[in-house]
């Protein structure tokens, strides 16, 4: 499971960096959205499955009458991060739209040459 997650994180990172190296503002924006996903995935990978984690970490999974439960903090972290990156992405897209309207182009080279 961890290996699969690790591969996912790696591929997402690679894709986002590739997109960010593009010449269009839209592409760059998409790249940053992807990189936030990669970050969230890596937190999931770090949280791991409860069985693996128990010996490794300080706070073992909580035992209760419901049986084994996973440490819910990483999920909470990811949830917060998703909400925040969602808001920032929205703002970034607004800026892309504004730039497109005022400058008639979204190409980085053309924008820089003005």
């Amino acid at each position: 499971m961890t290996v699969i997650l690790a591969i996912c994180v790696g591929v997402t990172f690679a894709m986002s960096i590739y997109l960010m190296l593009g010449r269009e503002l839209k592409e760059i924006a998409m790249g940053t959205f992807l990189i936030t996903h990669a970050g969230n995935l890596s937190i999931i990978a770090m949280a791991g499955s409860p069985m693996v984690r128990a010996g490794l970490l300080k706070r073992a999974p909580i035992l209760s009458e419901l049986g084994l439960r996973v440490d819910s903090l990483p999920q909470a972290l990811i949830l917060t991060a998703i909400v925040i990156s969602f808001a920032v992405s929205g703002f970034l897209l607004t800026l892309v739209v504004l730039t497109g309207r005022t400058q008639q182009t979204l190409n980085v080279d053309e924008l820089a040459s003005e």
């Binding site: 990189i35 035992l63 009458e65 903090l73 972290l77 920032v88 504004l98």
Partner: protein, 591 residues
């Protein structure tokens, strides 16, 4: 009772921000509300600081009543207090200044709520004692600053804002990853808890988990990006150049300090403790040299007042990074003092620049001149602020640089001190450039016509009040440096030896444990506190006996009571699975 007062630093700006949305079209109401809010936080911060001046106490509050490592902690210690007081006063000055500078249209575009919400984020990041909460407060602050940056919606602003948002989005992502990894490695995100674990491990000679250095460097990267540390400063000059000057003053004075504060908080407390300390120290020291020197070279080469001031921010961030790189209590105290004085002085210079622009319609040094004759008050305010920035005794910058450079000289960072002094010289040069071109020399060349209906002193009165408030604070910091330094030295000591911080947040027992571990290089055993805790007779016997086998059996039998109880309630049949889960060795125990 005093402890819970510190929540007000968060609640006041937030509540005022929401209220000002309601009254967004009634400028008078929002202005009054905002002024009250900033005055209240300033008074509260100064009052609380005065109360901890002698002993260096720490006020803490647990959000929602959850105990420390689980809930979010809000901490007001000497460093946070200094930063909060300075930032509230700076915000008040810039805010009052904006009444004269901003046009009516901009002001109604939610300038007041946004400013309040930004201060909400700034205050929260100074107060929070939790790494992830620090990320959240950064985001609150940044979100408001994105909106403030594009408040006019001009072509240039949108272009610069795109860069700024993009960079900060990447920085935030790295922060989230680092926070997640930190939780994975250490099992906690509470800064006091992190400091406790790291100090304990170091004392008993246990290595930190693999990858800790990487996470530490990731955090240094993030805070360096927010604080415009070399080589992450490239975004700063352009972005601070395009915004309205009152907002630019607040950005230039405050936002970089939030990054620097986070660096000063985390590096001595837990990031640079243990074996990897030299790595982090070296990285930060090299960054400090380049930040100081390249920043000031950039400023000398520019010919616009705003650009000079904006690039200067970078150079002065270098001094703070220098203080953090030296990593002694003395240097950190100097760093804390320098941070607050720089906030005040830099903002007042930006505000002066705002008034200059009102007079001459431009900030290009080739086009303006003769301001000394036109307005001696502005000239006086400017020269006091400029000399404070340069560090001429007895003004505030001198005391900041003195302690940092002395600390560098005595701890083997002499090259940093030399660059620091050289940077001071070049700072003087660039400030004199503004002075001689802008104020002293007669107007030359194709001078920009003064806008119609030239502003009179009367119309600009709020701007002067704002600048005077900040310059007055700078003078206070210079002439009353001793009491401020008293607090700053407490801050430095608390950062270098976090046991007081740990004690205030996690309870005195935990702090005692750390002190014991540091003194004896081992963890306190039950036998050390026999009189305090009653332990079962067989366990005591086992630990006295000392043989491995009986030790283990004692461990197991001690654990058994709890485990068996949990076993039955969990309804699990296979005991060995459970043992594995909780991480107890199971050799010799047949399932």
């Amino acid at each position: 009772m005093w402890n819970n007062l510190i929540i007000l630093f968060i609640v006041i700006p937030q509540a005022t921000g929401i209220l000002s949305i309601l009254f967004v079209n009634k400028t008078k109401v929002t202005r009054t509300l905002g002024t009250i809010s900033f005055s209240l936080t300033s008074i509260l911060a100064v009052g609380l600081l005065a109360s901890i001046r002698e002993g260096g106490g720490i006020y803490t509050s647990q959000m929602g009543g959850w105990p420390a490592p689980f809930g979010i902690t809000v901490v007001f210690d000497s460093l946070s207090g200094l930063m909060l007081a300075a930032s509230s006063i700076v915000a008040l000055g810039c805010y009052v200044h904006s009444f004269a500078i901003l046009d009516d249209k901009t002001e109604r575009r939610y300038f007041h709520p946004l400013l309040q919400l930004m201060m909400f984020g700034v205050n929260l990041s100074f107060l929070t004692g939790d790494l992830f909460n620090l990320f959240v407060s950064f985001e609150i602050m940044l979100m408001a600053s994105y909106a403030l940056m594009t408040i006019g919606g001009s072509k240039e602003q949108v272009r610069q804002a795109y860069k700024y948002v993009l960079l900060n989005l990447i920085g935030s992502t790295v922060f989230v990853i680092a926070a997640g990894l930190m939780y994975g490695l250490m099992g906690t995100l509470n800064m006091a808890d992190l400091a406790a674990i790291v100090a304990e491990k170091r004392a008993i000679g246990e290595p930190l988990p693999t990858g800790f250095t990487t996470v530490a460097l990731m955090l240094v990267f993030v805070f360096g990006l927010k604080g415009a540390m070399f080589p992450l400063w490239f975004w700063l000059p352009d972005t601070y150049y395009t915004v309205p000057i009152s907002i630019g003053a607040l950005f230039g004075g405050m936002l970089t300090k939030v990054g620097m504060y986070s660096l000063a908080r985390t590096v001595p407390m837990f990031l640079a403790v243990g074996d990897h300390m030299p790595v982090i120290q070296a990285v930060i020291a090299i960054a400090a040299v380049f930040t100081m020197f390249l920043g000031v070279l950039g400023a000398v080469s520019k010919h616009n007042v705003r650009r000079i001031l904006a690039i200067h921010v970078i150079s002065q961030v270098g001094y703070m990074v220098f203080g953090i790189a030296v990593l002694t209590g003395h240097a950190l105290a100097g760093c804390a003092f320098y941070m607050i004085q720089h906030m005040v002085v830099k903002s007042s210079l930006f505000l002066c620049c705002g008034i200059m622009e009102k007079y001459s319609g431009s900030d290009d040094l080739n086009k303006i001149g003769g301001l000394l004759k036109r307005d001696w008050l502005l000239a006086t305010l400017f020269i006091v602020a400029a000399f404070s920035l340069v560090g001429l005794p007895p003004l505030s910058g001198f005391f900041g640089k003195l302690v940092i450079i002395e600390a560098g000289w005595t701890t083997g960072f002499w090259y940093l001190s030399i660059f620091g002094l050289l940077t001071g010289l070049l700072t003087l040069l660039s400030m004199m450039k503004i002075w001689s071109y802008g104020f002293w020399s007669p107007p030359r060349g194709e001078q920009v016509a003064v806008p119609a209906g030239a502003p009179r002193i009367r119309r600009l009165r709020p701007a002067y009040i704002g600048v005077s408030l900040l310059v007055g604070t700078a003078l206070f910091l210079g002439f009353f440096a001793q009491p401020v330094y008293q607090i700053a030295f407490h801050a430095g000591d608390q950062l270098m030896d976090p046991t007081q911080y740990i004690g205030a947040i996690l309870g005195e027992d935990r702090a005692e444990q750390i002190r014991f571990a540091v003194a004896n290089h081992r963890l306190p055993r039950a036998s050390d506190r026999e009189e305090a805790v009653a332990i079962p007779a067989f366990a005591r016997e086992a630990s006295n006996n000392g043989s491995l086998v009986s030790q283990r059996s004692a461990d197991l039998s001690l654990g058994d009571g709890g485990v068996v109880h949990q076993l039955s309630s969990a309804g699990l049949s296979d005991a060995s699975t459970l043992f594995k889960t909780i991480g107890i060795g199971v050799e010799g125990v047949s399932p």
